[in-house]
């Protein structure tokens, strides 16, 4: 068997895990909170990420962060830092770690952990005020990748 076909066979074996996404509990953070490996096998799409970032029903990142290029977002919040130029100041690995679970980078950060499903106190069933039945991450693996791709475009 040629080397190429071995690699192909291995890839095929690994496919079930890759096809979905890295599960929230399986994300590997380094000591500084960076995440090197993408959470999904489809590269992040900046345009989709921009939508996740700006939409109240998705990431709603604009509740706390402003980005001056998002001219159609009224009343961006000021609880978190402004993110102009964040793509120049932070690597993709850093951005992925912060969006997935900011507390791994900034201890005690107010920022919610967007890709974590355990360790909460009285988690609710979305915004009903009732107890959670099953906790799903605030954003999907692909949405995280999309937001990271959008943030990476913010060079100045």
């Amino acid at each position: 068997m040629k080397r190429g076909s071995i690699a192909f066979a291995l890839a095929a074996l690994a496919a079930p895990a890759l096809a979905g996404a890295v599960a929230p509990g399986d994300v590997v953070f380094d000591d500084e909170g960076k995440v090197a490996a993408p959470l999904s096998d489809t590269p992040g799409d900046p345009a989709a990420g921009k939508k996740v970032f700006s939409s109240r029903s998705l990431g709603n990142c604009v509740a706390c962060h402003s980005v001056s290029s998002l001219t159609d977002v009224q009343w961006p919040g000021e609880v978190g830092p402004e993110l102009d130029g964040i793509g120049a100041r932070r690597s993709v690995e850093e951005l992925r770690g912060i969006v997935a679970d900011a507390k791994k980078t900034f201890e005690g950060s107010m920022m919610p952990s967007f890709y974590r499903v355990t360790g909460f106190i009285r988690p609710g069933d979305a915004f009903t005020g009732k107890a959670a039945k099953e906790i799903t991450p605030l954003l999907s693996a692909q949405e995280i990748e999309d937001v990271v791709a959008f943030l990476a475009t913010l060079k100045d």
Partner: protein
Amino acid sequence: MGRKALSLIAAAAFAIAAGAASADEDAELVVEGQEIVTKLESPEGNPLPVILSGWRFREDATQALQTDDFENPSFLEIDAARELWTKVEGKAGKSCADCHGDVEETMKGVRAHMPKWNEKAGEVWSLENYVNDCRVNRMEADAWTWEKNPMIGMTALIGLQSRGMPMEVDVSGPAEEWFERGKEMYYTRFGQLELACANCHEDHWGDMIRADHLSQGQVNGFPTYRLRNTKLVSLHDRFKGCIRDTRGETFSPGSAEFRALELYVAWRGQGLGIETPSVRQ
């Protein structure tokens, strides 16, 4: 010129000075000619650098609504509660007035010291507990639901009798344990968003969270008329809404947890004038 006209002119002058639609944190609150303390130096031990009523964080038009009882939409419910005050209900054939007389006399100052330790119950009681205790045990009538009318209107009517008086809760003695429980809750990061009261109301008051101007979360104005809800809202209902908004499992209005939190948060605003019924966004 009457006092009301003067206070309206004063409110209008503040509005002009502040510019359109922005919060004026330097405005002074005068309601029906009565000055109400909305800002005070923080006493030792209080974690806030300065104590500010939520009124200071609101837009000019919202601020102005509270200065005139004819404009303040809370008074529809308060007038209904005034009718109820003298209405006989329950098997004992009594009304509130049969025991308590004129609400304007006997209820003066009551709300300013709420919640407080109740020796007989061995608990900290909110004003609603006292109302329901009267209804069930003296009037032999049904208890009212905390976060609905007529309870909200009645607590607003009673609270109004303390308007302008400094909020002064007693956190000593047996209430201290409740105070500590409330404090612990205040700093607990609830829900999937992991937000504590302190994240917004201690660390970020004055900042915008989207279109909301974060206040210190003071409780001196409750029940408060919330324009977005177009109704009077009880304090525990607001607590519930805040915890729900953390994507959390809330506590119930009237629960021991919320009474403990009420005591602690009231202490954080010790000295602010009672504004009941306040108007907020």
